[in-house]
């Protein structure tokens, strides 16, 4: 059940003097099973893009297809789409409203028409998947720490058992440890449960280590759509878009320029260390 965006354009405030072209002719195919990173500077249209994927925003022009059907059709069941394509908004903890965490996680599956038993099972499973501390299942949502709230909110979407999980800047506003934990958790979801993941971020570093495909957004257009190695080789263009490439990649690229024989495609710090070590020993 791939998700296809075909010539999607989105213009906000079209009827005023200051229309904003948030998406400009976006064409994407999202097959099942991928782990995709969407990066772009603030205001490049990332959030707008992903809201098209589960029908929260309909394109000004162009179409979105899910399972071979146009989601802009009148008789298309959006609720069904939202069950398959789960979307976790930026700062998802702001959407928590029930008296306790468990009740809140149950909200999604309940809306999807699951029975009480199914709902509770789904909620437990989701909370376990995001490794939410068990002694806090019935705590008030307002007593939790920032990272815990975010886990609870992600569980709330996960409990609907989506095939696609889209996360809008899930690490925003978290400390470095919290960021790693959330990203590891997401990557684990992809690995063990085989969920298609679309991870939105404005930081390359977050994305580089985990994803198998990077979509770079710039001023509402898809600038690059490729494997990370390829995308990061365009370091100058990326920097012009206001995106810093990951530090290890930057260092090796700099060394390459100064005549060291390093691999230009490294992404992580361990790869960089290996490559630099090799280059140094070879020279000797």
């Amino acid at each position: 059940m791939p998700l296809i965006l075909d010539h999607v354009c989105q213009i906000y405030n079209a009827d005023t003097e200051t229309p904003v072209k948030a998406l400009d002719d976006v064409n994407l195919v999202i097959p099942e099973g991928q782990f995709i990173g969407v990066i772009g500077h603030t205001g490049s249209g990332k959030s707008t893009l992903i809201q098209h994927m589960n029908g929260l925003i309909l394109p000004t022009s162009g179409s979105v297809y899910f399972n071979g059907r146009d989601i802009t059709d009148k008789d298309f069941d959006k609720k069904e789409l939202r069950k398959h394509v789960g979307l976790v908004f930026q700062y998802p903890e702001h959407q928590l409203f029930e008296t306790d965490v468990f009740e809140d996680v149950c909200f999604g599956p309940k809306n999807m028409g699951m029975s009480k038993k199914e709902t509770e099972l789904a909620a437990f499973e989701a909370l376990r998947k995001v490794s939410f501390p068990e002694d806090l299942y019935y705590a008030s949502v307002f007593e939790l720490s920032g990272g815990q709230k975010r886990r609870a909110a992600i569980a709330g979407v996960l409990a609907m058992k989506p095939d696609f999980l889209i996360l809008d800047e899930p690490t925003a506003g978290l400390d470095p440890v919290g960021r790693c934990e959330i990203l590891d958790m997401v990557s684990e979801l992809h690995r063990s449960a085989g969920i298609t993941i679309i991870l939105v971020s404005h930081s390359m570093e977050d994305v580089a280590m985990y994803v198998e495909r990077v979509i770079v957004m710039d001023k509402g257009r898809v600038a690059y759509d490729d494997v990370p190695r390829e995308v990061f080789s365009h370091s100058e263009e990326l920097e012009q878009m206001g995106l810093a490439i990951p530090e290890p990649a930057k260092i090796t690229r700099e060394l390459l320029k100064r005549g060291f024989d390093v691999d230009p495609g490294v992404l992580t710090s361990s790869e960089a260390a290996d490559s630099i070590y090799k280059a140094l020993t070879k020279n000797r």
Binding site: D15, T16, E17, T18, Q51, N54, L56, K79, R82, K83, G86, L87, V88, F89, P92, H94, Q95, L96, F97, F107, G108, N111, M112, F142, G156, V157, M160
Partner: protein, 284 residues
């Protein structure tokens, strides 16, 4: 969806009306409304409509923005019209069953429509062409004389400007929370009124929580910058009358006097006639 609400909305463009001092616009609206309710013949309304259309034209605000505000009062409008149409005594034109429509009723209903639509359009023009900050500045200065009655004008103005500033923020927040709950399968459209009201709980609870959080943060930030109350605060851009404001005042007063004179001519002549009667004991 929720962004369609236009109360207190500013339409950004360049025009004479935008540049006018907010005090001119505020007093202008007040006088315009007073004038509207004194008219009792078509001449007054015609002058009023010409004046309103000229101002709209000068403001460069698209007409459909100005009429957007009317959607909100359409119910009140219909209600007033029906009441006046059926319940005004006088010479009947149509009578069937228990319903009689009179000449006078028709006239009152018609003038009510004119008055209310012109009132709403006139005040929309002010909010559409004046930034909220300017509007409160204008009120603060215009109401300055109230200080002698110990009305804390400065504090009230500060509260108003904060309230106005928060409207778009809260609307945006509502939009975001609604979308987040939609993504979790919430349904705001179907069902009867009780079900619809219940469906709003997942939106209202987070909205209130965030409003309180924002208010707390703002209070803290104001305190950190040593806010001590509105009295005696200076402005970065104090309001100063310019030549165009003087011209605007002249045009405004001319309009008000002429339109009331012509729009209520009979009343004024009646007034003098009755004085004459009282003084000399015989009709003029």
């Amino acid at each position: 969806m929720i962004r369609d609400i236009t109360i207190g909305q500013y339409y950004q463009t360049k025009s004479v009306i935008h540049r006018l001092d907010p005090r001119v616009k505020l007093l202008g609206t007040l006088l315009f409304i007073i004038a509207l309710f004194t008219y009792n013949n078509p001449v007054g309304y015609i002058i009023g409509i010409i004046f309103l259309c000229t101002v709209i034209k000068l403001s460069h605000v698209p007409f459909k923005f100005i009429t957007k505000g009317l959607k909100g009062i359409i119910l009140i409008l219909c209600f007033t019209v029906l009441i006046n149409l059926f319940l005004t005594p006088g010479t009947p034109i149509i009578a069937f069953w228990k319903i009689t429509i009179t000449y006078e009723g028709l006239a009152v209903a018609f003038s009510m429509i004119l008055r209310l639509t012109m009132l709403i359009m006139g005040s929309s023009i002010v909010t559409l062409t004046t930034t909220p900050n300017n509007l409160t500045d204008g009120l603060e200065k215009g109401m300055g004389f109230m200080k002698i009655f110990r009305v804390p004008v400065g504090d009230v103005a500060m509260m108003m400007s904060i309230a106005l500033r928060f409207i778009p923020i809260l609307l945006e927040e509502t939009d975001r929370i609604m979308k987040a709950q939609l993504a979790r399968g919430a349904d705001f459209e179907s069902g009867n009124i009780v079900k619809k009201a219940k469906a709003l709980v997942p939106v209202l609870v987070p909205l209130f929580v965030s409003a309180f959080r924002r208010a707390g943060d703002l209070a803290m930030a104001m305190e950190a910058r040593c806010y001590r109350g509105g009295d005696g605060r200076t402005k970065m851009k104090p309001l100063v009358y310019k030549k165009r404001d003087a011209i605007a005042y002249i045009i405004l007063f001319t309009f008000v006097i002429v339109s009331i004179w012509l729009g209520r001519w009979s009343v004024i002549t009646d007034f003098f006639r009755s004085i004459y009667m009282n003084l000399f004991g015989c009709p003029l």
